[in-house]
């Protein structure tokens, strides 16, 4: 408590007030205030599209703000570029490591400020200095090695080391833990605590509320471009924060099974397998049914989804569609049979970043029709507008490149792409990965709705609570094998965990 009071007494290290930013047709930030005290970890929270990224970009000069004042240690500053912000003391580390894959660790660490002798870069001194700096962070690696020979977590620490060395006052971490496993998160949090001790102000942006409470002292919550609250985390609960973020009480998700019996049998999978990828897999899927695929990372969830969609060819087993044996050797055939797959990694397997939202939505339908028969423009608009409305995709215009949308909205646009093909069998691989609580709830509601309309769904997810909420059956995978099927009242998070763990014991 004493520590915290001390923090309060000091003037903020960074004080941004009245920050506004307008985009054509939208107010992205409306008079936002952010106060960072020295030696604190400050979480910046909000739904997708709430304005977190925009605020960060305004603070670091990546965007020109349209109004407001930024004070750093009492002095007014006006960063015009990220380099400018770095020079002032504000450094940023992004989710996708923003270092250069073609250079060594040391070259990345010292880019732009390489030690020189007689005008020439002194590589030996640079490698030595880099090794010392990284050892300070607990990394014992050879900085003369290419960056890409190390794991993402190590690259992340290198990025932090670079940002701290350049800036040393304010460190902004934009979803640094999104692609890390637990051990790597611990490594990163160790580094963050160490920097906190040194008196840096750290802004922490993440979707994981548990991590927020684990590492942060204070949180500012944004909603629709406005600050809706600043809280000391020791004084509030997760529920309070979620309420602030969503602006409404999150209805407790009860695993209440909606009425309506499953419809007729759509798909029978008999011992479908691919050597080295997935052991024989069997499943009967009815219309109006959601089958959840549960399992640990690497248990074969994604592989199963790809196998059913023809993205991977089975080397044994049979697939019966409405009782008729059907061979699906590639995704085009799957699409022709009214299958659809929303892949796990939307950045690389899903969206086409530079194409407009409209074109992204129409892509799969047009592909099924064949390029020789273009869908008329008016029809395209009609379809795109229909799904934007139906799925509540928030955008300034259908013409904007899809990469400018927030993660949750990208995911919804991807769903729209496949829904536009009016599939009978929809496969979703991690539909809620990397999107926030609000979008979560909407996607879950959408899955319910699709099921009620008689679609057959297969949903792979690592979020057990979610699986429990929408699945009528859950298939548990373990080590690329189908180990258990849960139905009805059996479907609880506990039972799924047990199914995974029991098998583990059995195997040991």
């Amino acid at each position: 408590m004493r520590h915290r009071r001390k923090m309060q007494d000091q003037p903020p290290l960074l004080h941004a007030s009245g920050i506004s930013k307008f985009f054509p047709g939208a107010v992205a930030l409306d008079e936002v205030e952010l106060k960072l005290y020295p030696g604190e970890v400050h979480a910046l929270l909000g739904e997708n599209g709430a304005g977190k990224s925009t605020l960060i970009k305004c603070l670091t000069g990546a965007y020109r703000r349209d109004g407001g004042v930024i004070r750093l240690a009492g002095e007014e500053v006006d960063p015009k570029s990220t380099a400018d912000a770095q020079g002032l003391g504000i450094g940023t580390v992004y989710q996708e490591v923003n270092l250069l894959p073609n250079l060594t660790v040391a070259e990345n660490l010292y880019m732009g400020r390489q030690p020189t002798r007689l005008g020439l870069v002194n590589r030996r001194a640079m490698n030595r200095a880099a090794a010392e700096v990284l050892e300070g962070y607990g990394l014992h690696i050879d900085p003369g090695e290419p960056l890409t020979s190390f794991s993402v977590a190590v690259q992340q620490v290198v990025a932090i080391a670079r940002a701290v060395a350049l800036s040393g006052k304010v460190l902004i971490l934009d979803e640094p833990t999104a692609s890390l496993d637990r051990d790597e998160v611990d490594l990163l949090f160790g580094v963050i605590r160490q920097l906190k001790e040194r008196g840096l102000s750290i802004v922490f942006i993440t979707h994981f509320l548990d991590q927020v409470f684990e590492i942060s002292d204070r949180a500012t919550v944004l909603r629709n471009g406005r600050v809706v609250g600043e809280r000391l985390l020791a004084e509030v609960s997760q529920h309070d924060i979620i309420t602030l973020m969503l602006g409404r009480q999150l209805e407790a998700r009860v695993a209440e099974k909606k009425g309506g019996k499953p419809g007729e049998l759509l798909l029978q999978v008999n011992d479908l397998a691919k050597r080295g990828m997935i052991e024989p897999f069997s499943l009967n899927l009815h219309r109006g049914e959601v089958v959840g695929l549960a399992g640990l990372l690497g248990s074969g969830r994604t592989e199963t989804a790809n196998l059913l969609f023809g993205a991977v060819q089975a080397d044994q087993g049979k697939l019966l569609l409405e009782g008729r044996e059907t061979r699906i050797t590639n995704p085009r055939e799957a699409i022709a049979h009214r299958f659809a797959l929303c892949p796990e990694d939307r950045k690389t397997d899903g969206i086409v970043g530079d194409l407009s939202v409209r074109d992204n939505i129409i892509l799969a339908l047009q592909a099924r029709q064949g390029w020789m028969r273009p869908i008329p423009r008016s029809k395209v608009n009609e379809i795109a507008e229909h799904y934007v409305k139906a799925l509540d995709i928030r955008l300034a215009s259908l013409d904007m490149p899809i990469r400018l949308l927030s993660g949750g909205n990208q995911q919804k646009a991807l769903l729209a792409r496949w829904l536009a093909t009016e599939p009978e069998f929809l496969i979703l691989d991690e539909p809620t990965r990397g999107i926030d609580v609000g979008a979560h709830a909407e996607i879950i509601a959408l899955i319910e709705r699709l099921r009620e309309n008689g679609m057959a769904l297969l949903v792979a997810s690592s979020e057990l609570e979610e699986l429990v909420a929408y699945s009528t059956r859950v298939v548990v995978l373990r080590d690329r094998r189908q180990v258990r099927e849960l139905t009805g009242d059996e479907i609880t998070a506990d039972n799924i965990v047990h199914a995974i763990a029991d098998e583990q014991k059995g195997a040991a």
Binding site: A62, N102, M111, S149, L296, D479
Partner: protein
Amino acid sequence: MIRSTHLPLMVTLATFVLAYALCASQYPAMLSTRVVANLLTDNAFLGIVAVGMTFVILSGGIDLSVGSVIAFTGVFLAVILRDTSIHPLAAFALVLALTTGFGAAMGATIHYLEMPPFIVTLAGMFLARGAAYVLSTDSVPITHEFYDTLQDIYYKAPGGGRFRLIGGLMLLTFIAGALIAHRTRFGQNVYALGGGAQTARLMGVPLASTTVGIYAISGGLAGLAGIVFSLYTSAGYSLATVGVELDAIAAVVIGGTLLSGGYGFVAGTFFGILIMGLIQTYIVFDGTLSSWWTKIVIGALLFAFILLQKGLTWATTTRRKRATGSAQPS
């Protein structure tokens, strides 16, 4: 330990050594200092322009204008030395300033108007070629005593090989180019740009000055290559050096630089030039082969190097995948 980024350079070096050994075993005369000296002299202008091209390609760009710039430089020098009494050194300075400025202007266009280098330098190619035609459509001989003086500077090695000034100039350009690329902050910025412009910008790399600098270097070196070419041929001709930009690109790629940017070495380009020169020399020695075989062999070599690069990229990505895969708990 040999790092995978060095592998293409090693392959280039091995190719050169192997090719030279092969040539020498068939024609021992190819080991003579005469052949070595001619290899340097004949390829001097191409080598100089290829150094500039290495910078451009390392940054992920392309410069199609250099062949035309060489021709323009030659015609410009010939015409100005014919029509005025200006000293060649002053003319050199003038033409270098012109071509460097021309390159810088293309770099600025590429950066500020966010135009693809291919289109901008294609326009530059037509502009420079057109300017050369406007100056003169005929081959203009250069007869200036200072040119004779420069052409008479050589080191006569035992064995009769004459190492001329222009060959030395190429070597100096390669040394300077290697120093700038690998040992200066500017050079590091060039690699950063090739590794990813967006990331480089976020890391605070000055994209504008780097891009302008890269194309200024390429333009300036094309000017220098033009001077060297005029010394080599004692004339300026607007139809000369058509397609030299493509030879330069070929030398850079055979030298192990990744065409998409970010990976490569200036020294590799040097060996790329030597390999191409060696093929030509071999055909001269053979005497029965059509000189167009040079193009065929260079084409085949290019193809082989592109395959090698693809293979390397593939190998590194799968190795990485395996590495991250094993890091997961199973």
